[in-house]
């Protein structure tokens, strides 16, 4: 408690005599399980995501431990089959159970209606249904893990996946089910953005977070059905031997890849746009400066969402797809890179001549800028045809997508969690350990994944249990990096959890944000605002000073 008072914001204005907040409003487990309150659902998603991240992270650490040596012999305690299951489960858990729901379902659910000045999302019951579908999907996935695990890789490529043993069908159906959860959330957010904006809030008065989440929802609704049906076809093929993808039954394995990436490429934007969403909030707030190029950033989100549908073939350059297709996909891939680059420049321009406070969320946001830039720039090697042929399916790709997905989205997510924590739980966390955690994470991350770029460009293929001795030093470095990052993550989590034992001390607007979620109590009351709030200030407008108290009551 004592150290919190030394933090720059807390001592200033602690609100006394708070009203009953959404957490206290109802009691008992049932009140949570049956809640239609977007804030409570957001919180439940949040804890589910944290738990799954730990599971996925443990699998990752096991993969890295296995790779300390590249010559395992026959009696190594993790054998080749187990290793294959570990990286598969790591991928499936991280993609379907962590990253896709992380920002939209957990933070988005909590923040989006508040930002719009709404009482809830457009369809609160559907929101609850979406959460329970997620839990059903999660249960199916965990059952599949317990029933002996799956070794297909998260990509489920046929005909390997149509022929290998293990509960592949159950896992595929789990992903199918999780897809519905994500579609429901998407539909809900689209309707909410269209219908529930506060009076006076035009499209271009919406926070950029909302623009990004809106674009994400569009992709979720349009793309997820494709992977759903693909996984169902895979299940049918396994169950009844109907040849769709398996060549020995007259199917075509490349067709599977087209279907899969038709979803999964847009899905990488489902993963990264929400990360960008958070950064577009944190940077103006901690720079106390208006967003540079608001419209460019807003349009970029939509452009990324739409062009993102047309580049799936860049995952298939060496797959046997036609040459012309490869040329077109390569070209479009470069075009979709531009809006992301523009965003980075806009964030920098926002920081330029700002008044920058390096509080924990901003430390995460600057980490994001650096890591995401590396992720994005290394994508150029992979979009360019002749270099991709060499790098495809090597550790270069593994490093690239971790820089984007983890360095981008997970970093932003952690920034977002530290940003909205006071709003979600009404407490300020301890700044010291929070920053140390962020630095550990940043260092560990680069040790972990920079070494993989080196291995990959040297020709180390991915999904390898054994490898040539020349790669071992880099693998060891990578594994050590995984321990540093794990330490950082545990410190961050422990520090956040520790804050929950304190009384609620957070001011309503600790970071002096300009968006509507800061114009209510921390944590908010059950109905968010007493009356319908009216937009009193455009987002990121710092022409008049912002205080840590709310301006509208």
């Amino acid at each position: 408690m004592a150290d919190i008072l030394t933090s720059p914001h807390a001592g200033a204005d602690v609100h006394h005599g708070k009203e009953i907040d959404y957490i206290e409003a109802k009691k008992g487990i049932w009140s949570w399980m049956s809640t239609v309150d977007h804030k409570r659902l957001g919180l439940m998603y949040f804890w589910a995501v944290v738990a799954n991240f730990i599971v996925g992270g443990i699998f990752a650490l096991l993969v890295r431990i296995t790779l300390l040596t590249g010559n395992h012999g026959d009696n190594y305690f993790i054998n080749a089959e187990t290793y294959n299951r570990f990286f598969t489960l790591h991928g499936i858990v991280m993609v379907f159970l962590v990253i896709i729901p992380s920002v939209p379902a957990a933070l988005g659910n909590f923040v989006l209606p508040l930002m719009l000045g709404a009482k809830d999302v457009a369809f609160p019951r559907m929101n609850l249904a979406s959460f329970w579908i997620y839990i059903v999907g999660w249960t199916m996935a965990i059952t599949a893990i317990c029933l002996g695990m799956v070794d297909t890789g998260w990509t489920f490529y046929t005909p390997y996946s149509s022929t290998t043993n293990g509960p592949v069908s159950l896992m595929a159906l789990a992903a199918f089910t999780l897809g519905f959860s994500s579609i429901f959330t998407g539909i809900n957010f689209i309707a909410t953005v269209h219908k529930l904006r506060a009076p006076g809030m035009g499209w271009f008065d919406m926070p950029l977070f909302v623009w990004s989440i809106y674009s994400t929802s569009l992709i979720q609704v349009l793309a997820t059905p494709v992977v759903g049906i693909t996984l169902v076809l895979l299940t049918i093929e396994r169950a009844w031997g109907i040849g769709v993808f398996d060549a020995s039954k007259g199917g075509d394995p490349v067709l599977f890849q087209h279907f899969f990436w038709f979803y999964s490429h847009p899905a990488v934007y489902i993963m990264i746009l929400p990360g960008m969403a958070i950064i577009s909030e944190i940077i103006p707030t901690f720079s106390a400066k208006t967003m540079f190029g608001y419209k460019a950033v807003a349009y970029s989100s939509v452009a990324i969402a739409l062009i993102g549908f047309l580049v799936w073939g860049h995952h298939m350059f060496p797959s046997g797809q036609s040459q012309l297709a490869s040329l077109v996909f390569s070209f479009l891939t470069f075009l979709v890179a531009i809006p992301s680059g523009i965003k980075v420049f806009n964030w920098l321009a926002t920081m330029w001549r700002g008044n920058i406070a390096m509080d924990t969320p901003m430390v995460w946001a600057v980490s994001f800028l650096l890591l995401f830039t590396i992720g994005g720039l290394t994508g150029i090697f992979l979009g360019s045809l002749s270099t991709d042929i060499h790098l495809h399916d090597t550790y270069f790709v593994v490093a690239h997508f971790h820089y984007v997905m983890m360095g981008g989205t997970i970093t932003a997510f952690l920034g977002g969690v530290h940003y909205w924590w006071p709003k979600m739980f009404g407490r300020m966390y301890n700044e010291g350990p929070a920053k140390i955690a962020a630095y550990l994470y940043f260092i560990g991350f680069n040790v972990l994944f920079l070494s993989q770029f080196v291995m990959g460009s040297n020709g180390m293929p991915r999904r390898y249990y054994n490898y040539l001795p020349e790669f071992q030093p880099w693998h060891i470095a990578s594994t050590v990096g995984s321990w540093i990052i794990a330490a950082g993550l545990f410190l961050a989590l422990g520090n956040l959890l520790a804050s929950l034992r304190k009384p609620k001390d957070a001011p309503d607007n600790p970071w002096k944000g300009t968006t509507l979620e800061w114009q209510t109590q921390s944590p908010p009351i059950e109905h968010n605002f007493h009356d319908q709030p009216v937009l009193h200030r455009a987002p990121y407008d710092y022409r008049t000073p912002v205080s840590v108290d709310r301006e509208i009551h």
């Binding site: 394995p253 060496p318 680059g341 800028l369 979009g383």
Partner: protein, 305 residues
């Protein structure tokens, strides 16, 4: 940072790779430098008011147009390298590749078959025509910067021209299950004369094999097994079981006792005497089978009592 360069194509790819590397370094230093500069130069001081800059068209055009031009340039550069790698020159030496969990099998132009390790002539265009017997695999020779999936339902191709003698590592780069990482091989580029000698002598293990074992390899490698059984069943062609020493009847009514000379003739010019009850469907193999394997075939047929 990059593996050894085995071909001209590899050098082209590396030039682009290094150009992109420096492009990456430039932009990373620019972004990171600006971010860190801002953090220090514009550190928070209470009471400071920030300028209200909503946009700046000129600046935004600059940072949209320049990167767009750059990436379009990169696109053409990468595409050129890709096109030049993806079509094998007409005069290429053709090697057939069969991938099967977790092994590579090569059929050389003379029909001889090798597993895992092969030799090729240096400074020659070599084309690999590949197919898989089960799941997806991927033929990846890092030193040549070539990689292509191997599919069960079609033939795909990869080619390169090894500039230097040396042994080049071949890896499987498409996940294919348990021993995916052990599915490697080697391609040794040697002088053409040495390559020819290696072809005639066959792989080292041939030196110690019995003739009928070599014959069995040839029986499968040259596809005799698609028409001839060795267990007595009738197929497109007569079975080889009990063939040697038997009296064969031909469609023109003549007969012959099957001996070595007859077998040789049947393989080289099958249409000369057509066994009664069969069509003249066998392709002529004259000059296509290595002497060692030819001897082996005869020994193998003799051994099938």
């Amino acid at each position: 940072m990059l593996p050894e360069q085995g071909s001209q194509h590899a050098r082209h790819v590396d030039t682009l790779f290094m150009a992109l590397f420096w492009l990456n370094v430039f932009f990373f230093v620019l972004v990171a430098g600006l971010a860190i500069y801002c953090v220090y130069a514009f550190k928070r001081r209470e009471g400071v008011k920030t300028p209200h800059i909503t946009h700046n068209l000129a600046l935004e055009l600059i940072w949209s147009v320049i990167p767009t031009m750059l990436v379009i340039g990169v696109f053409f550069w990468g595409a050129a390298g890709f096109l030049d790698y993806s079509v094998a020159p007409g005069n290429s030496l053709e090697i057939a590749v069969t991938a099967k969990k977790w092994n590579w099998t090569f059929t050389m132009p003379d029909g001889s078959v090798y597993g895992k390790n092969i030799q090729i002539p240096v400074n020659t265009n070599v084309k690999f025509v590949m197919t898989s017997m089960d799941v997806l695999h991927d033929f990846y020779v890092p030193a040549m910067r070539v990689k292509h999936d191997v599919l069960p339902n079609r033939y795909t191709e990869v080619w390169f021209n090894a500039e230097k003698e040396g042994t080049y590592h071949l890896a499987c780069a498409e996940y294919c299950g348990k021993s995916h990482s052990d599915m490697f091989g080697s391609i040794k580029a040697v002088q053409p004369a040495e390559y020819e000698k290696w072809l005639v002598d066959g792989p080292p293990e041939w030196a110690t094999m019995k003739p009928e074992e070599l014959g069995k390899i040839a029986y499968e490698a040259y596809g005799c097994n698609t028409c001839h059984s060795v267990d007595g069943t009738k197929n497109t062609g007569p079975t080889w079981k009990g063939l040697y020493g038997k009296t064969e009847k031909f469609s023109d009514g003549t007969t012959t006792v099957v001996d070595e000379a007859y077998i040789k003739e049947s393989i080289n010019i099958p249409g000369k005497k057509v066994v009664s009850g069969y069509e003249n469907q066998m392709p002529a193999f004259e000059g296509q089978i290595k002497p060692k394997l030819f001897e082996g075939l005869i020994a193998y047929i003799k051994s099938l009592k």
